[in-house]
Symmetry: C2
């Protein structure tokens, strides 16, 4: 764990910063982890690919998240990549004070122990290789070990993109496609 020191005297006010990102669309993921005391899950829009060889991705978690403590100790995580069919899972992972694993029939454990929600568009099992504490959040760098694609996103396939934008959910399909 490395830690960034910050001189915040000339920082942009939080409200101005939030206004910019509210209008910035984000793909939707659910991250699960288990450090040995039971699984946690949370919805995130910060997952991004940073390198394909080696296969690395990045995401960040607020210290205020109920999943933060487990994520600070877990050696592996599963990042679930959601499409519109997975919107109920997206809402479940974004709700507070809810047991995300109350329904046994919606998730399973891999042979390696990690918790995976069933029937999501795709998931990637990852090893956490770096944590950078920055402000009130932690930035995770993780290396992909294993993947599964349930629904592909090629044109004509049954997957339709799910996006969070301006506090609402949006669907990507033929109608949202920009032709130029």
């Amino acid at each position: 764990m490395s830690k960034v020191s910050i001189d915040a005297t000339d920082s942009l006010p939080a409200e101005d910063f939030k206004a910019v990102f509210r209008g910035h669309p984000g793909g939707v993921s659910v991250i699960t982890a288990d450090a040995g005391q039971g699984p946690v899950a949370l919805t995130a829009t910060s997952v991004a690919s940073i390198s394909v060889d080696p296969p690395l991705l990045v995401f960040s978690i607020s210290a205020l998240s109920s999943a933060s403590d487990v994520l600070s100790r877990a050696q592996t995580v599963v990042v679930h990549f959601l499409d519109v069919h997975d919107i109920e899972l997206a809402k479940l992972g974004a709700a507070s004070g809810v047991d995300r694993f109350a329904q046994d029939q919606t998730w399973t454990r891999l042979s390696t122990g990690e918790t995976v929600f069933d029937n999501v568009r795709a998931w990637v099992r990852c090893e956490v290789i770096e944590r950078v504490q920055a402000g009130t959040s932690t930035v995770f760098v993780a290396r992909a070990l294993q993947s599964h694609i349930e629904r592909d996103s090629e044109p004509g396939q049954p997957s339709h993109g799910l996006v969070y934008h301006n506090r609402a959910w949006h669907r990507l399909d033929e109608n949202s496609l920009l032709t130029s």
Copy 2:
């Protein structure tokens, strides 16, 4: 600059990793920087908010990007947050071998020296506070200093979200909204 060491023997193959992220939607940004020898710009879908107080964001840049060398030295960057009106700039920043600053009338310099493209939905001037080298890319953590919103994204406002998904551009508006 910190560096992550990686044991890649059991990593997911690059093709499998790319297939997962191809179907993951991303908001579109253009990042500009100038380390004293002229400005560079590139289009990125990896920008995410990680904290609002202090206001921090993260993005990553491949070492293969033509902007990589300048970004490794720049102390500040400007992150432009694009909407559908800015799609030509998105394409310009994603094209290779193109001078992004050939047209003088499309960009200006702030009093602090950074390069800003005109008329984008919003931009944030940031100080780079951490660089983490991970595989063939660098993850940047940056602190927001100043912002400008040209078009707001509230319902009824003129801004419509721009998303990159499955190698195509998509538009977010009333028609893509999911109602539940």
